[in-house]
Every structure is written in C-alpha cells, then in structure tokens.
C-alpha cells in the first residue's frame, strides 16, 4: 500500500445524519486538510477510522494495515490530537510520560522531556493549572514522543492564538520532513491549511465534494470579478461556481493559465481554501 491512509466507501448512519460513502487516499509524506462546515461529518470520519464509532466500509487501511484486523498495531504508530485535552486534570506531564511509557512500546522519554522544555511546560505541575494553549502543547509533546508515522489532528488548533498556531504549523512542517510521516488535519482555520496542506478534502453534508491538491487550487483556480458581458463570454467549462453580486459577477474559475493567455489583461485573484469552500457551498454551480 503506497497510501498512509486509504478509505473506500466509508458510511456511518445516524438518525438524522449520514456520512455517505466516503473514499479518500492520503499518500505517504503528505498533509491532508479536511474542511467542512460544523456538523458536516469531519469528526465522524475521524472517529470512524479510529474505531471510536463503528462504521461500515469496504476498506480502511492505515499505514498499509487493515483497520479491522490490525487495529492495535496501527494505533502504535499513530497519534491523535483532539481540540480539548482528555488527560485528567490532576495528572502532571511527568506522570503522563510515565503512563504513556507503559502504553507505547516505542515511547521516547528523552524526546518527551525535550519537548516539554521546548514548549516551556512545567513537568510537575498538575494539568488544572495549565492554560488551553499549554494543554494543547502537552498533547503535541505526548503525541510526537512515541515515533508516530501518522498524526491526526481533529480541530486541534481551535481557540489558539495565531502565534501559537504558527508554532504548531512549524512542528508539522518539521514532522513531514521525513518521507514516511503523514498528517491528517481537520480544521476550520482554513488559513492554516493554506499554509501547510498538500491536499484538501471538502466534506459537505456527509459527502466528499472534492479532493484537490493545493497546487491545483493555487495554480489552476482563481477568482475573476467581471461584468455580465465578460461573464457570458466565459465557457461553462472554465467555471466551477459563481456569485451574482449587486454590481458584478464573482466567478471561481478553474483554467487559470489558459484564461490568462486568452484574456491578457484580466486580473485573476488567487483563490484561498476559504474562497473555495464558500463558492462550493454558497455559489451557483454551472453543470
């Protein structure tokens, strides 16, 4: 298996919501950003591949291993960081290190204490004295200290300040410097994903709307603001979605390079992930 994460036809039914036949692949060494509205199914997807909830699927392979039969082996090599701390507030970082060394065979105590120092976390203070940011940093320290090959972040940076979020991005960049390290990051903060993701998957109302590389988004997609005349001149094949505004059209296009060649002096704005999300969910689509 050349994929760090391979999901085929994963479905999870709830009473009033269904995660519907999701298939996606994350190649080794890449960072996949999972985006979607609140309640779109991002966390359900993550919980499903971790077997925290039971879902139906044809295949789920993590790091080349089958989730159904090798769950324990998989979990030795992955680390998950959620958006709030799940360690008891009376525990200390030092104790958490001891606890995790009895859980992970590959636990690296030295690495852990190095991270604690790097993040300025007091070893012997109880977690109840920690700020939210400190708790998240502790989760990262713990996550990175057993040599995981796949990091899964479920909205882990919500509620953190930009300075700290940049620190986290830097850690993730360092983490993926190694070819066999991959990251799945689910986030609302699309500006972070703009900076760091290699691929973007958009989950909308339980379905995977698209999976694109950031390259495709940056190089092939763009936003054109124009009048009616120009808008009519555009071919439907170039348009992903558009918004009719009071005084103009705002068009999300997908053949940026060829459009630039055809219309030399139009200004094509860069499209961010947030733009993509807004256009896909709120724009008119031309079929």
């Amino acid at each position: 298996m050349k994929q760090a994460l391979h999901i085929k036809n994963l479905t999870k039914k709830y009473k009033d919501f269904t995660l519907d036949h999701i298939s996606l692949d994350l190649p080794y060494g890449m960072i996949l950003g999972l985006i979607g509205e609140n309640g779109s199914g991002k966390s359900t997807l993550i919980n499903s591949i971790l077997n925290i909830v039971k879902a139906d699927y044809d295949e789920v392979h993590i790091l080349g291993q089958d989730l159904k039969s090798q769950e324990k082996e998989i979990k030795k090599e992955i680390a998950v960081i959620f958006n709030d701390s799940h360690y008891g507030e009376n525990l200390t970082p030092l104790f958490i290190g001891k606890m995790l060394s009895g859980i992970y065979t590959d636990w690296d105590q030295k690495k852990f204490t190095d991270y604690l120092k790097q993040f300025h976390l007091p070893e012997k203070k109880r977690l109840k004295t920690f700020s939210t940011g400190m708790k998240v940093k502790l989760e990262f320290a713990a996550a990175l200290s057993h040599n995981p090959k796949l990091l899964i972040l479920d909205e882990a940076t919500n509620g953190l300040d930009p300075v700290f979020r940049e620190e986290i991005l830097e850690i993730l960049r360092e983490f993926t410097e190694q070819e066999d390290h991959s990251v799945l990051i689910s986030s609302h903060i699309t500006s972070d994903l703009d900076k760091i993701a290699d691929y973007i998957a958009y989950i909308h109302e339980g379905r995977l709307l698209f999976l694109k590389s950031i390259d495709e988004l940056n190089n092939d997609c763009g936003i054109i603001r124009c009048g009616r005349e120009f808008f009519d001149a555009l071919s439907p094949e170039d348009i992903i979605a558009y918004r009719e505004e009071p005084y103009s059209y705002c068009v999300f296009i997908k053949n940026r390079q060829s459009l630039r060649k055809a219309f030399c002096d139009i200004s094509i704005e860069n499209a961010s992930i947030e733009d993509m999300m807004l256009f896909y969910s709120k724009g008119e689509k031309i079929i």
Binding site: R173, S213, I214, D215, N219
Partner: protein, 124 residues
C-alpha cells in the same frame, strides 16, 4: 541561495522556484555539483507544499539543470554549459518575439527594429 516568492505575481509558485533556481545556476551562484536542499526541506523552509517543490525539482531535472542521486540527494548538474546556452537562446528568442509583436502593433517596420537592435547591441 535565495528564493523569494511572490503571491501577487501571476506565475505559479513552482514556476517561480524553477526560474529562480535556473537563474542562480546560470549566473553561477549555484556551482555545478553543488548540493541543493531536499524537496521536503525546501518545502518546509519556503512554507509551501511539498507537491510544489516536487514539481519544481521535476521540471528542473527534466530540463537537465539538476540531478537527483538516490540516497544521496539533489545536486546542480555538472553538464551545465550546453543547457545554459540553450536556455539563454530560448530566452532571447522569446524576448525578440515579444519585441516583434509590440513593434508590429505599433506599426514599426522591420528595418526600424533592426536599427534599434544595432544601437542597443553596440551600447551594451
């Protein structure tokens, strides 16, 4: 080695990287055989996706500017001379094409352009 990326330039990022590395090689800022950062390290340091640096390195390798030695890394190609020349010739042709277009648009004759070229060539 300096690479400066612009989000406002019309060029895709991978093209900006490719061009700037090519320039450094042709100017001699990057010597033949010199080691380049791995595409992952470059991605990390430039804060771009590894897909972007991979594409840039792939293009550079295709055009013969760099070589990747398995398990050793990426290096500036030592067979640069011909490629530099070819690249420069290509650039000259492109520039001349642009000049010709502009001249035709403005109604200049071919003799007028030749004159201008002669003046400029001797002055440079």
């Amino acid at each position: 080695m300096e690479i400066i990326l612009s989000s406002t330039s019309g060029r895709p990022i991978y093209e900006q990287i490719t061009l700037q590395i090519k320039e450094m090689i042709m100017k001699g800022d990057l010597a033949p055989g010199q080691a380049l950062p791995s595409m992952r390290k470059l991605a990390k340091d430039l804060h771009v996706s590894v897909i972007t640096t991979q594409r840039a390195y792939d293009d550079l390798q295709k055009e013969g500017f760099i070589v990747t030695v398995p398990a050793k890394g990426t290096f500036v190609s030592t067979e640069n001379q011909d490629f530099i020349r070819e690249e420069n010739l290509r650039r000259i042709e492109q520039l001349l094409t642009d000049a010709a277009f502009l001249a035709k648009e403005n109604g200049l004759s071919i003799n007028e352009i030749k004159q201008t070229l002669e003046i400029v060539y001797t002055e440079v």
